[in-house]
Amino acid sequence: MSIEHTDQSTATAGASPQEDESPRPGTAPQSGKPGPGKTESGEAGSGKAESGKTGPGKEGPGRAETKAGSEKGGKGSDRRIGAERLSAFRELSRAMILISVRDKATVFFLVVFPVMFLLLFGTLFKDGATAHAKVAQVGAVQLLDSVHGADRAQLDKVLSITRTRDEAEALRKVRKGDLDALIEQGKGNTLVLRFSGSDQVKSASVKGIFNSLLQQANLAATGKPATYTLKSSRIEDQSLKPIQFLTPGLLGWAIATGAVFSSSLTLVTMRRKRVLRRLRMAPISAGSVVASRIGVTMIIALVQTVLFISVASTPYFGLELTGNWWLIVPLVICATIAFMSIGLLTGSLAKTEEAANGFSQLIVLPMSFLSGSFFSLDDAPGWLKAVSQAMPLRYLVTGSESVLTRGGGILDVLPTMGGMLLFAAVLATISWRFFSWDDA
């Protein structure tokens, strides 16, 4: 709550009747009304005289006293103003938080919706990039039936094999795309593999798998040890799991959407509802209004971050954080400021919430798709990459990927953060040209 001013005690002290002799002529009611024509105003006059009688005892002198008190404040007032401004700032921030929290749609779109996306994508891509091919085995196939134990388990990881006797039916399924291939025992020791060419990656891997099975069997049949063996391992074993890049991508998208839309819509609503004008008529600085809004949006962004990392770190998804993951905090703060500047621009241009929504979408949608949040831009044409490089979301995504999952350090994200703040400064400057406190 705000710090109490000296007025409080005097408001009640004024109620004592002996203080009725107010020293301030201008404001004291019993000094009579200087306004001309007062006595002429018939009914109004008598009404006023009555309330005038009751007025002084209740409030009048208290008010006069108050004024004297605040004028006497003198030296001490500077310190008090400082402390009080803090309190106005605090009350404003509190109000901004309450506004966000109490708006159920806001909570849903800022927190629940993005996390739902994370759960959805996280689950969809949980089993990683390995193409799991479905193969029908028609009749007995000696090569496959002889695989047991650990080798069989290994094989089941890459192929799901169903047994059937109906060759025609299996063939039909392959043709339709329900199955990727069918395998049957040919004449003698031949194996017949018939596959669908619709998915080249899968057909290649099915061919590869059976080829290697065959080679192993042939080698085993000779009874000699293998001359050459291949040992393969992936370099970035951290990013083996999709959650490692899904988390930064979706987190960036969630923060961008939240910060752009909330600042844009808040600005328009406050202007349209005249709150902005009312704030302008109060002796508080524009800086404290802006700062409280930025502060609250940052808090929301950090809540999103904590939530995302918590959900992704559950054993089910298994996100593993690298050393300097805490750098996500300054990174998110800088990114929030950058996104808010986009909201400031769209909110300054738009007169209605609908327009603000549209303008924001116009920027956020392409920015999201071009950020690498949802898919890689490696194969995109150059001009698209250039567009993506002009938007802050891409930098948040790569930056947070770097610090969260790729072991990036402060030097990796420092230029990113600087760039984001620069972006915000440029956009804020442009916005200022269109900004207005009031509807015309």
Partner: protein, 305 residues
Amino acid sequence: MTSAIAADGVRKRYGDIQAVDGVSLTVETGEFYGVLGPNGAGKTTTLEILEGVREPDEGSIELFGLSPWPRNSKLLPRIGVQFQASAFFDQLTTRETIRLFASFYRVGVRRAEAMLERVGLTDLAGVHADKLSGGQAQRLSIACALVHDPELVFLDEPTAGLDPQARRNLWDLLRDINAEGRTVVLTTHYLDEAEILCDRVSVMDHGKILKTGAPATLVRELDDKVRVSVESGLVTAPAMCELLAEVGAGSVAVEDDGVSLTVATNTPAPVLSVLAEQGALRGLEVRGATLEDVFLQLTGREYRA
């Protein structure tokens, strides 16, 4: 002593519309001042310029000798404003709203609570601002305008859309705050309200002030006929004419509509004495001109925006 408001030659144009066209006015400290006018007369724009919300195209304004434009933070704590539309955050409760405004003016919680009590909203302290009725929102808006004890209060149509009870309660509140020595400026198109509350009124139309004065003075200057009426059937209209001619009551118009007999005259005294002599005073009603008549005479009767 400087006047609370001194405005001179204020003009404001929006595109093709000259919203305010050379308004000059002075409001003394402690005065209750009303700005009257039909819709679209320029009342609100005038008020907004006085408050310092808008910049005038031309003219000068001083509040307590200080210019309100550009935004003058020395002046802001001394004035309280209430806009036509209530400017609140919908998601905040009544109590949170008044405390927020109190914090802007470095006023404590107790004063905020007292203000809520004063406008009778203590029972609704926990209600969200968007759930308040028109009158309740209006009262909250006024509480927010008064929370910091301003010397000068601007109210833009504070009683618009209120029911008669709420209107009268608000009048009491406004009279009280004026009685405490605060200067009050309000716009309204309720003439009874202006007549009852205001020390002086200005009638505005088409961005200009047509007339300024105490309501009673304006009514008197209109020199309109007083209408005296009694129950029909006590005395006939021709008989009444004769009797009045005998006492030399001047030009009168007598009319009997079967419900009441009405005499319109500039000199009601002889009419009343004649009626008294005839013992025909049952249902007596004397109706003089009101501010409404002044208003209609000045602004005409055609429809406005």
